[in-house]
Point group: C2
Chain length 477, copies 2
């Protein structure tokens, strides 16, 4: 023990030494562990791999483990030692070999472990052309023997055990694709001097509509969860930020159970100043998407082909544009009768117009434009001649993934439009203030990340591509 | 008008033409507008700039406007035309000149406008060495004449009018720095094969503690807002994701009003598998921070020097480490008596130990390690010999910005530790399940983005560096 005086003097010296000692160790994914995908490129010899047990083949003379980690799967092999030599004192080596064989015989699927062993390249090994002969095996955490789900379990069951479901290689790939997609989008924006914002999700009033709003007790008042970053994206325009983006969670108290809806989802939003019309927004978005999808194709195209059986198609620019009125005619001509009365496309109508565009132009995307004001938000700018909004929906493979628009920035017109929609202007005063002290013409879009990912990978539900889905009856795990 | 048959045939043709026409226009920030920072590099001649009015000097013979955009400020000039020539019919040109002068005389601060004019390089112009002689001026949205805040307004008043406060060049810079900082961190991780996740913020139970928890009605049940992504970061380890990160909002119903607390804040989180101890986490985090701060220095170092009067210092590696017990002795030796009874550092203690490290080692960061179990979360792993947790706090310039730890992955030990903390294991069953089907040793950290940014820029409160702060009495704008 040292005195207080010693501590004051010695403290930082020891601190530095410790730090240096720590740093002399190798930081390689994180320690001396090799990732499975690195094995093929390594020479034969000593190696350490960590992962979880996918299968065990416990044959009489030899044992095989397929071990998976986040990068792939590899075969581990152990010549079984079933009994000690009779009639002589067992060597430590023989006892260890017996114990190792026993351990492997009792391994359960899903157990996480580290193996030190000898790497050997062997073309006959179908799984990756290498195998590891086990020297020692350390179990980090054994798995309960009964795996509650199988690959063919229903979606709801798989969601109950999402952490096991995500161990599938294809599910792991989904989130690698998402990572690449997001990073590419952010890179596109940041290279063009966009500012990233994190707008608050706790609000004093609704951000989009009074329906589908989650409310919570907030000290002495009530707060609401943001349904979109809409108002605060626009605030950035008034703040002179010029061009901004946000990727963050938003909330909808939406009781529907479709494959495209969730109560909490990640929204990809951008908003830009000094536009001439929504067309400037659409042009930015199509460049962004082509850039991001190209990045996904480059990094994961082969894996997607292998695991999802589809070829990622980088969309050509520009995306086709069709005014809504024309889209409705085309859909009618294809024999689909739209039953909704508001004059908007219904989900089947969206599929039909996308099918038409795919057949006629070979394109997966289509902008539907020129929506009438009565089916758009109050803050969409309207064309002075036609009265139609300066807005679009973007459909991808038959599903709407985005609404974009130029915003009405003239505060008197904006207030009138809010009143016309039956909104109480009093609750929106804080928002109208953004326009009263000067604001540039501006517009932007919001896009559901999960919808984009679902369609890109040909999945049937956003639940498949959401890390942990939230719906009306789904709050766990 | 064309028939339905025509529409079906013509639709996509027109769509393609429209798209191509649209694409022939230039996409340059977004339209033909020049950013102020580009002016110095452009030749004299016709130019268009857009921004907001910072000041107007309305002299008898000449008018000056300082126009600011997201990239800088430029002087606009107009030779005043105060009256039409007497005794002759005014030319259209003379009338326009008179009208322009009138318009400028009535411009209010904050008005957003576009000017077409003639760029002229002139070294005598202090503001950037260029000026623009106005040809035409189009007001996008006039500002109300009374600016409700001034640069020296109090923080609370400025937060009431945050969108105006953010027009200050230094505030704009804060969010450019944040953008660079985040992008650098994400890039560091993505280059090392980390997966980005978006964990749900709606939960069926508390993520950290039952105190400071926001609750909301969720259809037929109650949901809680996540206080951290802790459990779901760990779930990714059980899912075999290996290395993950998340930058997202979290919520604390914390009634305190300090400069370091908020009810909603952006948390920077990472979690990695197959670590040997918390030291692996600390080593990753210090590399990450050095990388990200270096990126900020490179991109914004000069602007930070100019607007914040400080030099960004890229920290050397490794950061110093001091065990808590030793830190307490050092602080005591410096004459600070810690009044809290739990044996942790208090805020002044954190300042003292950081001051000590700065004086002795010239370092802004210090890891405080080896915390006793009673002041750490139940999921921190404990050293089997000492009983101390395998965890750290990271202090930066005297303020705690991070807690990091190796997690207890042995489910029986974990459950015991939860019980010991008085938690009801029943509410944590979904979390314990993550460990029952196999899990690797793992650890990670959580870091408050605003705290990091505040300290990096030498600001006094996270409110200054948060886009829209949320506190017990602050839900608007």
């Amino acid at each position: 023990m040292h005195t207080v005086g010693d501590a004051a003097r010695i403290g930082p010296m020891r601190a530095r030494e410790w730090g240096e000692r720590a740093h002399n160790r190798r930081l390689d994914g994180v320690n001396e562990r090799a990732l499975v995908k690195q094995l093929l490129g390594r020479p034969d010899g000593a190696v350490s791999v960590s992962g979880w047990v996918e299968t065990v083949r416990d044959q009489k003379k030899v044992q095989f483990i397929v071990l998976r980690d986040e990068s792939g799967a590899v075969q581990l092999v152990n010549p079984a030692t079933r009994e000690l030599p009779e009639g002589e004192a067992p060597t430590a080596e023989a006892s260890a070999a017996l114990a190792l064989t026993e351990t492997i015989s009792h391994l359960t699927q899903g157990t996480f472990l580290t193996v030190h062993g000898e790497l050997k390249h062997d073309e006959r090994v179908k799984l990756g052309g290498v195998e590891v002969k086990i020297t020692t095996l350390d179990v980090a955490a054994p798995a309960l023997p009964e795996n509650p789900i199988a690959v063919d379990s229903g979606l709801d069951k798989r969601m109950d055990w999402r952490f096991l479901d995500l161990r599938q290689e294809r599910n792991n790939l989904i989130f690698r694709v998402q990572t690449t997609l997001e990073h590419a989008m952010r890179t596109y924006w940041i290279e063009r001097d966009y500012i990233e914002v994190h707008s608050p999700k706790l609000m004093a009033s609704a951000s989009e509509s009074n329906a589908e709003l989650f409310a919570l007790e907030y000290f002495d008042t009530t707060a609401y969860l943001a349904q979109s970053p809409q108002f605060y994206k626009q605030m950035a325009q008034s703040a002179g930020f010029g061009k901004i983006f946000e990727i963050g969670d938003v909330y909808r108290a939406d009781p529907s159970f479709t494959s495209r809806h969730a109560t909490e989802f990640t929204s990809v939003d951008a908003e830009i100043s000094w536009i001439d019309s929504h067309e400037d927004v659409a042009r930015m978005q199509e460049e962004l998407l082509a850039f991001a999808i190209a990045a996904v194709k480059e990094k994961h195209g082969d894996d997607i082909e292998r695991l999802f059986g589809l070829t990622v198609e980088v969309p050509s620019l520009p995306f086709p544009r069709i005014p809504l009125a024309e889209a409705l005619e085309i859909v009618a001509a294809r024999g689909h009768e739209i039953l909704r009365a508001d004059g908007d496309l219904d989900p089947e109508g969206e599929r039909q117009i996308s099918a038409h565009v795919k057949e006629a132009l070979g394109h997966d995307f289509v902008y539907i434009t020129d929506y009438p004001a009565h089916i758009r938000a109050f803050y969409h700018m309207r064309d002075e001649e036609t009265g139609l909004t300066k807005s679009y929906d973007l459909l991808y493979k038959g599903v709407e993934i985005t609404t974009g628009a130029q915003r009405e920035h003239r505060v008197d017109v904006l207030i009138e439009q809010a009143k016309e929609k039956g909104l109480d202007p009093a609750g929106l005063e804080f928002y109208f203030d953004f326009f009263r002290y000067g604001v540039p013409p501006h517009g932007g879009f919001g896009m559901g990340l999960a919808r984009l990912l679902m369609l890109l990978l040909g999945e049937s539900s956003i639940r498949e591509v959401t890390y942990l889905f939230r719906g009306p009856t789904r709050l766990q795990p």
